[in-house]
């Protein structure tokens, strides 16, 4: 090869390829073009053993050289893999071939096409994601660190049983609120990682709530109460919803929105400081979930206002499915009355029943307001709110 001149030199010192020499070679070869020569200067006696095999594996050619010991030539072969530059900024549509690469990274072409069915921004996005994520990160709480379990007094049996029954009902609902975002998480393209993060926080929140409420029920000594079919049927229809925005509407806006009023009611009527604290913390978390739901729905409806009737139809469909259910399960209703009245005397029951009726009206009012904020007419909002499940979630 007397007429050829190397395009570049690489000094490997006394490194063999397995000692890091291969890395220096890769860096020296990278800027060269196919067919260019690289001259290697290296003191390791192992290079002569290693270079021919390495070149063959890498698609380069090792050229015998009579220039003297310590010098080798490599002719660059196959060029680097073709790369794709996915959208650096948020894209309206994310490509399956971007796979799990973080937004902003470069991706080798030819990788597997991941199946993320939710890969359009308008299917998943919300404007206030940053604020919600920040709040979620700042407001994480611990049921060990933040709850004074020692402050739990010994309650009258009827009150303790009522608390346990309320906790049982809340936990069922928390499970539904955990499974729904968890199921959708795996379908969302990682390009929209802010949505993943918000939903992941939501899943974590609900898991903590389920643990906290169960623990509260057990701490009083009476154990958990009864799960009614009416509640389960209601949640079953919620879990069945397969479309993301509709599920978010039913869960976060309608269901968790209603729960905000319930949690506030339970905090105000809690017979002990532990229950009150749990309700307060849970309320703060659920308010974030509602904020995401409202924000997502607003984003979608601003772009596709024609989807509003379909959302209304989903509420009505669910209402028809649940038509056989007469109302809130007696287990839950009675527990709320006892807690609100403070006991079982006729006077206490009268006061409790009055407060529970107010609770229902307040839930209905808040739901209607939230629906109107999303652009539903006052009349439509009232009608839809009335169709909402009597089991709150």
């Amino acid at each position: 090869m007397p007429n050829r001149i190397p395009k570049a030199q690489a000094d490997l010192g006394d490194l063999a390829l397995h000692e890091g020499g291969a890395m220096l070679l890769r860096r020296a070869i990278a800027p060269l073009r196919e067919g260019d020569l690289l001259e290697i200067c290296g003191g390791s006696s192992e290079l002569v053993e290693q270079l021919p095999a390495w070149c063959r594996q890498q698609g380069h050619r090792y050229l015998p050289l009579n220039k003297g010991a310590g010098f080798h030539w490599i002719e660059r072969g196959a060029s680097d893999p073709p790369l794709i530059r996915p959208a650096q900024e948020l894209a309206e549509t994310a490509e399956p071939a971007w796979g799990l690469a973080p937004r902003g990274a470069t991706v080798e072409a030819g990788g597997p096409a991941f199946s993320f069915p939710l890969r359009r921004k308008r299917e998943v996005w919300a404007e206030e994601l940053d604020a919600i994520r920040q709040q979620a990160a700042n407001n994480q709480w611990s049921l060990i660190r933040d709850i004074s379990w020692n402050a739990l007094p010994r309650l009258a049996p009827e009150l303790e049983i009522a608390v346990s029954q309320a906790m049982t009902f809340l936990t069922e609902n928390e499970f539904a609120a955990l499974y729904i975002p968890a199921r959708f998480l795996a379908r969302i393209h990682p390009h929209y990682r802010e949505v993943l993060e918000v939903l992941a926080f939501q899943v974590t929140d609900e898991a903590r709530h389920a643990e906290a409420f169960t623990r509260r029920a057990e701490a009083g000594g009476t154990g958990l109460g009864t799960t009614a079919n009416s509640g389960q049927l209601s949640l079953h229809t919620l879990l069945e919803e397969s479309e993301f925005t509709t599920a978010v509407f039913l869960l976060c806006v309608m269901g968790e929105g209603t729960f905000l009023t319930l949690l506030q009611f339970l905090e105000e009527n809690a017979p002990d400081p532990v229950t009150a604290a749990l309700m307060r913390y849970a309320h703060r978390d659920e308010a974030r979930h509602v904020a995401f739901g409202v924000s997502h729905l607003r984003y979608v409806l601003q772009r596709e206002p024609e989807r509003r009737p379909a959302l209304a139809a989903a509420v009505e469909r669910r209402s028809r499915l649940l038509a056989s259910i007469s109302g809130l399960s007696p287990y839950v209703h009675d527990a709320l009355v006892i807690l609100a009245g403070g006991g079982l005397s006729p006077e206490q029951v009268r006061e409790g029943a009055r407060r529970v009726a107010v609770l229902h009206r307040e839930m209905d009012r808040a739901r209607s307001e939230r629906l109107q904020a999303l652009g539903f007419s006052a009349e439509e909002a009232v009608r839809l709110s009335a169709h909402h499940t009597k089991n709150f979630m």
Binding site: E46, E49, A53, A78, P82, G110
Partner: protein, 279 residues
């Protein structure tokens, strides 16, 4: 039933045999098949569990072309009395060498010093890790079995050493002191150094075989060239820059396909004759 529901093929697809030495072989060939379809080449593949079965099927025209190990190529040459040809091979099939590795501290300076020692090799039918290096030893006057003890590592016999397991076992035997020397393919030697199977501070290369060639696509002599022409062209045109096939090429261990050649099999042929491997 609509009349156009089944489209009869006018050309009999080219049937290509391959040995399933690993589950990835199915992925590779399903992918290649898609590539060939895109290139307008009608082909199908048939997988065999070992090379002897593939050679037999090839001789009986069950397949038109066989993706052969070097030993399967030599066997096909013997069985057809030379009436066969190579079509294409990988860039990584050319000029391989085998390294005979010994411990740094051993008083072994030449191949002759392996007399009376234990030599670890791969599977008994591995060209690179057994037949070729044992032939080199034999030519240096150390007859395997008599002049030295051979420690075989029969991982997946029948697959002609395609699986790296046998060579890795040989390297382990050297590292564990069960053998005085180990025979490994040059690229596997690098791999074993990188992954720590062999310690570069306590082992060294005693000898290197002359270069030899590895796999090739083989066609029987009686198969008309026009039957394979488009298949060969499509292979030679396959590009590492093509996202459709890049991963498959990585799995198959090549950057590009090259025209087949028959000059790199002399060492193996000598070994097969010397050890009466197919006698």
């Amino acid at each position: 039933m609509g009349s156009a529901s089944v489209r009869p093929s006018r050309i009999q697809p080219l049937r290509v045999g391959a040995v399933a030495y690993d589950p990835k072989v199915v992925t590779i060939w399903e992918g290649f098949k898609t590539y060939f379809e895109r290139q307008g080449v009608e082909m199908d593949f048939v997988l065999y569990s070992h090379y002897d079965a593939q050679v037999q099927a090839h001789l009986e025209a069950e397949v038109d072309v066989a993706w052969n190990s070097p030993l399967a190529w030599v066997k096909t040459q013997i069985e057809t009395r030379g009436a066969c040809r190579t079509l294409v091979m990988r860039d990584t099939d050319r000029d391989l060498t085998t390294k005979i590795i010994v411990r740094q501290s051993a008083e072994i300076a030449t191949l002759a010093d392996l007399r009376g020692k234990v030599v670890a090799v791969g599977a008994s039918d591995s060209p690179q890790a057994t037949l070729i290096p044992l032939s080199l030893l034999d030519e240096a006057g150390i007859s395997p079995g008599q002049g030295c003890r051979v420690l075989y590592h029969d991982v997946m016999v029948g697959k002609h050493g395609d699986h790296v397991g046998g060579e890795r076992e040989a390297a382990y035997a050297l590292a564990a002191g069960k053998a005085d020397a180990a025979c490994v393919l040059d690229s596997n030697y690098l791999l074993f150094l990188n992954e720590g199977t062999l310690d570069p501070d306590t082992t060294r290369v005693l000898a290197t075989t002359p270069p030899y060639d590895h796999c090739n696509f083989t066609a029987r002599g009686d198969l008309p060239e026009e039957r394979t022409q488009r298949f060969v062209t499509a292979l030679l045109e396959m590009s590492f820059q093509d996202p459709l096939v890049r991963t498959l090429m990585e799995m198959e261990g090549l950057k590009r396909w090259l025209p087949g050649r028959t000059t790199g099999y002399e060492q193996l042929k000598r070994a097969v004759e010397k050890f009466r491997f197919y006698a």
